[in-house]
């Protein structure tokens, strides 16, 4: 009864085809068939948000959608957030502000925050906490995640940001010399 079906979609701007059973969840296709292990399996019950990806301009828990539903979709995972070897402002913000400890929730956090900042470029702290409520973190107590997102929001709006992280400091110094 349950034959495999061919599904085609765009994953981080690259076209992919997969053969899946209709019952296969997107998170399993990404991790097991497409070697994209950035999205994590935390709860597998659409509570924790570790498996969050972006699909057609919306954040999505990839444990709660079937891969067959993704035909023709445009999917972005944490692997596609950095561009041309440059970290995204959110990735930089999570480094600078210590937005992670164990790091398990981080791909989901960043992917969700990516969409949040597209929709609300200048969020208040309250808005960040409200619109990030679908992602759980058991390490940080969220304060530094909020700061990381505020850092990224400032940078994406073109406002100055303060970097003290050793890796980013070096890069900042280089670009200063070049400038």
């Amino acid at each position: 009864m349950s034959q495999t079906v061919k599904v085609s979609f765009k994953l981080n701007d690259r076209p992919v085809d997969v053969l899946v059973e209709p019952r296969e969840l997107l998170i399993h296709t990404l991790r097991e068939k497409l070697a994209h292990t950035g999205p994590h399996i935390g709860c597998e019950t659409s509570h924790c948000g570790a498996c969050t990806v972006d699909m057609n301009g919306a954040s999505l828990k990839s444990c709660t959608i079937l891969t067959v539903q993704c035909e023709g979709a445009d999917i972005l995972t944490i692997e596609g957030i950095a561009k041309n070897g440059e970290l995204h402002a959110l990735q930089e913000g999570f480094m600078q502000e210590h937005g992670l400890q164990c790091g398990f929730c981080t791909p989901g956090m960043i992917t969700r925050a990516y969409r949040l900042l597209q929709e609300i470029p200048d969020p208040t702290e309250e808005e960040i906490r409200y619109w990030m409520a679908g992602n759980l973190c058991r390490c940080t107590g969220y304060q530094n995640i909020v700061k990381s997102i505020q850092y990224a929001a400032r940078k994406l709006r073109g406002e100055p940001v303060e970097t003290s992280h050793p890796l980013m400091g070096e890069k900042a110094a280089q670009s200063e010399m070049a400038g």
Partner: protein, 288 residues
């Protein structure tokens, strides 16, 4: 956490979807946002042999105004409800409630039609629909019929929808100008169902209540409309005593199921509390 095998169908038109429902009968399930059905399938509480995905059918989502009525496509997501200018202006109760449903990721997928048609008394839209005097458009092989919310919710996971019908639209009369509103929801955490929740729509002239509607979430086998409490308030000044008497009538109709969110006594007490909070907020928002 893998569902039992099934055959997946993705009809491109409503007619095709209805035909599939007729063909597969009890073995088929409709897939809307999937945030109730897929978890149930993963836990194997639901094991359909055929899954009919409604997401590729055009024109099933969107919010519009027709005369004095708001029409919401059944596949409109919670997130679309939240950001709808029309709803923010005409049905702020629905926007306030949608903001309290699940979490951001789930609200991008979860639909108003799915929330209603699932028949779960823990879902928020059923009580809202009762409060707003909504009606539902159901499409089947013999065309459409329109069923009022008051005749729709028959039991837990049991509604007036026939197995070969698909909900296509929700119709809601726009409340009179100046109507106060509030949805007060007690939940343990983001994403949880309500331990108790109350919806109130209120019209006042001076201090007197000229009209009130009260709905309750997760406090019985179906969403509830608190008609006795409404009757006790209508035509009366909204004094503290009158509100307290109505709260007692609200609590009197509650039959919540005990679970991890609390026992019956606690949930019933919280129903009273959510009602008090909702009616006080609605009073503040009334233009008299």
């Amino acid at each position: 956490m893998i569902p039992k095998p099934f055959e997946y169908h993705s009809p491109q038109s409503l007619g095709d979807a209805v035909a599939m429902l007729q063909q597969y009968g009890d073995e088929a399930k409709l897939l809307a946002g999937g945030h109730s059905l897929l978890p149930m399938m993963k836990l194997r509480f639901a094991m359909p042999s055929h899954l009919i995905d409604l997401n590729r059918i055009p024109d099933l989502a969107g919010v519009s105004e027709s005369g004095n009525e708001i029409r919401i496509g059944a596949m409109t997501t919670e997130n679309q409800l939240i950001w709808s200018d029309l709803l923010q202006r005409k049905l702020p109760l629905l926007v306030e409630a949608a903001r309290l449903i699940a979490d951001p990721q789930v609200r991008y997928r979860g639909t108003i039609g799915g929330d209603i048609a699932h028949g779960d008394p823990g879902n928020d839209h059923p009580a809202l629909m009762l409060t707003l005097d909504a009606s539902f458009v159901l499409a089947g092989a013999n065309g459409e019929r329109v069923v009022p919310a008051s005749e729709f919710f028959l039991g837990t996971y049991y509604t007036a929808m026939n197995p070969d019908e698909i909900m296509t639209q929700i119709r809601i009369p726009v409340p009179p100008q100046g109507t106060g509103w509030c949805y007060a929801k007690l939940k343990r955490k983001t994403g949880d169902f309500a331990a108790a929740a109350a919806a109130v729509l209120l019209q006042m002239k001076g201090d007197t209540c000229t009209g009130v509607a009260i709905g309750l979430t997760n406090l019985g086998p179906t969403a509830l409309r608190a008609s006795d409490a409404e009757a006790a308030l209508t035509g009366k000044p909204l004094t503290a005593d009158a509100i307290e008497a109505a709260a007692q009538k609200v609590m009197a109709i509650c039959e919540p199921a005990a679970d991890l969110r609390g026992d019956e006594t606690y949930k019933t007490a919280m129903a009273g509390e959510m009602f008090r909070k909702a009616i006080r907020t609605a009073m503040e928002r009334c233009t008299r």
